[in-house]
């Protein structure tokens, strides 16, 4: 059974290939079958493999499938090999499962689009690349998947290519993430040079053997990998691309910019946690980046009008939590949050997609309202997602995962109260903006009735995801609520447990209560400001500083502006100034002087015999002079 592992990425690839080659000739049904089916098949295989893996775990706790040696040169021999362990298994299940649901959803959602087969080709390609990323046994292969998903992200953001805005957003996404990727590539160069391999397990082994904790090389490598992760996961300071990425079709946002690709950074850090453990300063940076990002993005999410942009900032913020968890060594908590986040965020996007589609492509929440009766499925599922996002205590998956992060942030030797407070504030913000969406969209007065209708292919994924968003958290019950840490236990085969500071380890229950209260408080505030007392909100935002702050947050803390001024404009200026290649002017100069020489010498060809005789005389003079003086 495990031997079929290669099929997991291969099937979506095959689907993509079929769609690329024959997509134009297939009917829509055929495209849908191939597109969604391939991911479904992949999901089924993954599930079967998972069952086999759980019931009959391999001896070492992982399974490696070597396909072929990619390249062998000068002692460097990366393999095309897949590796299945607890970590990748969880990720693969989520990706294929959620991915399939989103594909299913898309078959209906994209029904009327010209690029139907193109869409599924890209989507399938994406899933395949994501699976390569997750299953790669070698950092180079991981990098292949890493870039591959970036590519698909680009293609899908700019899917509606006619509008330059979309194309620009896709380009921005690719370029910004590529900045991080390049740093990561440099990290790989360093690893190849210093450790001679990119095989992840070998690498970790050698790193531990050769590098002391805190050694400069380990710090450098970890920092470079972090840069890659930051780019892919839209964390500070490379988060600017994600809100713009919402230009893509909504299923894309759900799949790529919520559930899967953007969490690749989390996966990378978890995967190479050994390196981060060797570089405590970088790990601290991970935590700080996470905390800062979750706060910044949370603030920005509060101020958006576009429902998808709220979700985008929300995603940034939630990944910030995962980074925070990684930074404090709560590896499995991060993965846990990844999983629940995949459920509820995909759900939110898909539900929002339904809303947007039914509102004639209206993204502005302030132009919606009161939709709960007209769009009951969307409303209830969205509500479940929002509750999960807001970590509504006890009943949502988001609560369990976020709570785990907060608790472990507090208690970890690497964490502490400050990071915990940041997380808590973030949680407060989260529940405000989550329910801000709910209240603005589904409550209040009906501003415009929705049009059209939604089929089962839209609803089934919503419902399944809603269920998962609610119950998905029960795989990991904290000590205070039943103490059934199945998920962590399962992952511990691949990821070490958090190291707790004994002095702070005892306060779990109190922390949970605080967190739960904060979440509920957030919902209340949202209710108060955005539903009950809209005038209060207006009063609050009237003062000039408040408006400026609002604007500042809405514009994503000015990062776009900053990059534009510091990087983009100078580059464009240079490119514009040097469009005709200044170096060529040097050769123009040579040509010019040759012409000048020609003109000067041609002037001696006067046609007069006297001039010519003068030349003769001058020659005689020069030669005689040479004879005299030499």
């Amino acid at each position: 059974m495990l031997g079929l592992l290669w099929l997991v990425p291969a099937v979506p690839f095959a689907g993509a290939l079929v769609l690329i080659l024959a997509g134009a000739r297939l009917r829509r049904t055929g495209v849908a079958v191939v597109g969604a089916g391939s991911v479904g098949v992949s999901a089924i295989i993954a599930a079967l493999i998972a069952i086999r893996f759980v019931t009959l775990p391999p001896a070492e706790g992982f399974f490696t499938q070597r396909l072929w040696t990619w390249i062998r040169v000068g002692g460097f021999a990366p393999e095309i090999a897949l590796r299945l362990d607890a970590l990748s298994l969880v990720m693969v299940l989520v990706v294929t499962g959620v991915g399939f649901l989103i594909h299913l959803y898309s078959t209906a959602f994209m029904e009327g689009d010209d690029g139907y087969s193109r869409f599924f080709a890209y989507m399938n390609l994406f899933v395949g690349m994501m699976l390569v990323l997750l299953l790669a046994d070698d950092l180079l292969l991981l990098y292949l998947g890493w870039e591959g998903v970036g590519l698909c992200s680009y293609l899908l953001i700019g899917f509606w290519y006619r509008d330059p805005v979309n194309a620009n957003a896709g380009r921005k996404a690719f370029i910004v993430t590529r900045v991080g990727d390049t740093a990561m590539a440099v990290g790989l160069f360093l690893l190849v040079t210093r450790l001679g391999t990119l095989d992840i397990q070998g690498l970790m082994q050698r790193a531990v053997d050769q590098w002391a904790i805190g050694s400069p090389l380990a710090v450098a490598v970890a920092a470079l990998l972090l840069a890659g992760a930051v780019g892919k996961s839209a964390q500070l300071p490379l988060q600017t691309w994600l809100p713009d990425a919402m230009a893509g079709p909504t299923p894309v946002s759900a799949l790529i910019h919520a559930a899967t690709m953007v969490t690749a950074g989390v996966y990378l850090i978890a995967r190479t946690h050994v390196l981060f453990t060797l570089a405590p300063s970088v790990q601290l940076a991970v935590a700080i980046i996470g905390a800062a990002t979750l706060l910044l993005a949370g603030c920005s999410a509060l101020t958006q009008h576009d429902i998808k942009r709220v979700l985008a900032y929300s995603t940034i913020s939630q990944i910030g939590y995962m980074f925070l968890a990684l930074g404090v060594g709560a590896w499995s908590a991060a993965i846990f949050h990844f999983m629940t986040h995949a459920f509820f965020k995909a759900l939110l996007f898909l539900a929002a997609g339904v809303v947007i589609a039914r509102m004639d492509d209206e993204h502005d929440m302030f132009k919606m309202g009161g939709l709960r009766h007209d769009l009951p499925v969307a409303f209830w599922t969205f509500l479940a997602g929002a509750a999960s996002l807001a970590a509504l205590p006890l009943v949502t998956a988001g609560f369990y995962s976020k709570d785990l992060i907060l608790v472990e942030t507090w208690s970890s030797v690497l964490g502490g109260p400050w990071l915990w407070i940041a997380g808590l504030v973030g949680a407060f913000l989260t529940s405000i903006y989550a329910f801000r969406m709910v209240f603005l969209t589904f409550f209040g007065t009906l501003q415009k009735p929705p049009t059209g209708r939604s089929g089962w292919r839209l609803h089934v994924p919503l419902i399944i995801l809603a269920i998962l968003a609610v119950v998905g958290g029960f795989v990991e019950l904290p000590a205070t609520l039943g103490d059934r840490p199945y998920f962590s236990d399962f992952l511990h085969a691949a990821l070490p447990a958090v190291v707790n500071d004994a002095a702070r380890a005892g306060a779990i229950a109190r922390l949970q209560i605080v967190a739960g209260l904060v979440s509920i408080a957030g919902i209340y505030v949202a209710w108060a400001l955005f539903l009950r007392h809209r005038s209060l909100l207006a009063r609050l935002t009237r003062p000039r500083p408040a408006r400026q702050l609002h604007h500042f947050w809405a514009a994503g803390w000015g990062f776009d502006w900053l990059y534009n001024v510091v990087l983009v404009q100078p580059f464009l200026w240079f490119v514009d100034v040097d469009r005709r290649d200044a170096i060529d002017r040097v050769y123009d100069g040579i040509a010019w002087s040759a012409r000048a020489g020609w003109r000067a010498l041609s002037a001696t060809e006067t046609g007069r015999v006297r001039t010519y005789a003068t030349g003769l005389t001058l020659g005689a003079i020069v030669i005689t002079a040479i004879v005299i003086f030499l």
């Binding site: 040169v73 006619r162 194309a167």
Partner: protein
């Protein structure tokens, strides 16, 4: 004899194509295709026939060799030989030669016979360059191929073709002439030291000479190759030539002619002047890095599609330069892979640009846009090769650039890091290229004809090659490795004697 056929067949086929033009315009095309096709077949046979034992280091230097006296008075021989490195480049020449003929199938309607005559002469010259093991013979072919190239650009090129052709010719010739001095000087130094006057590369490899002399001679060779490569700041002929050339000309220029520069460095500069090259390496690497970044930045600034692609060549060949002078096995392998992959991807981009120009009668990207709707195949292919050229993993260029940079890191981390930023800039231009041509609103109303069967077949070959190298480059690596082993183990002889 095989090697002689490699050079002679295209040459003769070219002449035949010229003559055949009297009767029909179709004949020259088929003759040319057959001529270069035969070469490709020979090269492929050679490759399959000699895989395995013969490619193992130490199994004798050449896969095939022929050595006949030519100009005895000066010790000049017709010495052709082929090793893995040469073989790869000959394969590339054969492949892209076929594709170049195919790409010109409908584009060229004027003086068809003469066109194919010139084209095949260039290819013949290229194969000569890649297989000549006598420095004079090498130089002979080196210079010989310029003339048909000049005509190719000058007669069948676009608006500023004469300027471009002349510039190309002058740059390459002047640098070639300086190399001639270096060749002759090496010949004389060797003759003085050993009493044997010969141009044979293997014999010259161990010439004892002062380090100053070695340095100067190395510069002489390096200059010529750097112009061809091209290295910033000697690159300015390239955008003009590439832009103005007809499609086949651009393809041959970008995919093959530039490679002669890299080949020359690998074959001559490194083995002949190992120490001088080593001490020069930092300069070369810095120039390579500048080329990578500068070329990429300028590529982004262009509004002319072909010019954009031309500048990407500057950038990509910068990687080759870095890889060659980093000198580690990994970097050298990377450089060779980059030579091949850049040949494939840029060749494809030029074919596509040519196809677009043929249909739209413009290369200005400002007058394109939104073409995807009409020509999805063309768009997809452009996208694919743009991605290849920005080094998307899974395609050959990635492996090449990765190996170059990974191999260079040991030598100079800073250079590696700066060169890596080239990867970012390359993303910028590659995506801009696709966006400007295929995305956004549609200009004009005329429907664009999508790629036809002939063009798609051409593209498919290139796609397959790039994916193959991207996922399983080992066959290429193994072919090149004996040659690289020889380079990295070249004798250190400089500064021994006078």
């Amino acid at each position: 004899m095989t090697l002689v056929w490699l050079v002679v067949v295209p040459f003769v086929a070219g002449a035949a194509a010229w003559v055949a033009d009297r009767w029909s315009h179709a004949w020259p095309r088929w003759i040319a295709l057959a001529g270069i096709g035969i070469d490709l077949a020979i090269a492929v046979t050679l490759w399959f026939g000699t895989s395995g034992a013969a490619l193992v280091p130490g199994a004798g230097p050449w896969l095939a060799e022929i050595d006949v006296r030519w100009i005895d008075a000066l010790g000049i021989h017709l010495h052709f030989a082929i090793d893995g490195l040469s073989l790869l480049l000959v394969l590339l020449t054969g492949l892209l030669g076929v594709l170049a003929v195919a790409a010109s199938w409908t584009e060229i309607q004027d003086r068809v016979g003469a066109f194919h005559f010139q084209l095949l002469w260039i290819l013949s010259g290229l194969i000569g360059v890649f297989t000549a093991m006598d420095l004079f013979l090498f130089y002979f072919f080196w210079e010989m191929m310029l003339v048909p190239m000049f005509f190719l650009i000058g007669i069948w090129g676009h608006e500023r073709r004469i300027y471009a052709a002349t510039k190309f010719f002058l740059f390459t010739q002047v640098s070639g002439l300086l190399m001639l001095i270096a060749i002759v000087a090496l010949y004389i130094v060797h003759g003085r030291a050993t009493g044997t006057y010969t141009f044979d590369v293997t014999a010259l490899a161990g010439t004892p000479m002062s380090s100053t002399m070695s340095w100067w001679l190395m510069l002489g060779f390096f200059g010529a190759f750097a112009v061809k490569l091209p290295m910033v700041p000697l690159h300015t002929w390239l955008p003009d030539a590439h832009t103005e050339a007809p499609t086949a000309g651009s393809v041959v220029l970008a995919s093959l002619l530039l490679k002669t520069g890299a080949y020359g460095m690998l074959r001559f500069v490194l083995p002949l002047f190992r120490d001088a090259a080593a001490s020069f390496a930092p300069v070369a690497i810095v120039l390579g890095v500048i080329g990578v970044v500068y070329g990429a930045a300028l590529a982004f600034g262009q509004t002319d599609l072909k010019r954009l692609v031309a500048y990407t060549s500057v950038s990509h060949m910068g990687f080759v330069l870095i890889g060659i002078f980093a000198g580690t096995t990994i970097a050298l392998q990377g450089a060779i892979l980059q030579i091949l992959c850049h040949g494939l991807s840029t060749g494809a981009l030029f074919i596509l640009a040519g196809a677009m120009q043929e249909r739209l009668h413009t290369r200005e990207m400002g007058r394109m846009g939104g073409l995807w709707a009409d020509a999805p195949r063309m768009g997809g292919m452009t996208l694919f090769f743009a991605l290849a050229s920005m080094g998307l993993p899974g395609l050959g260029n990635f492996i090449a650039e990765f190996l170059v940079l990974a191999g260079t890191y040991r030598v100079s981390p800073i250079a590696t890091i700066v060169a890596s930023t080239g990867l970012i800039v390359s993303t910028v231009y590659a995506l801009w290229l696709v966006q400007a041509a295929f995305q956004g609103p549609r200009h004009g109303t005329a429907r664009l004809r999508d790629l036809g069967v002939r063009e798609m077949a051409t593209m498919a070959v290139l796609v397959a090659a790039l994916v193959w190298i991207g996922l399983y480059p080992q066959s290429v690596v193994d072919t090149a490795s004996p040659a690289i082993a020889r380079i990295t183990s070249a004798p250190r002889v400089a500064s021994r004697a006078p």
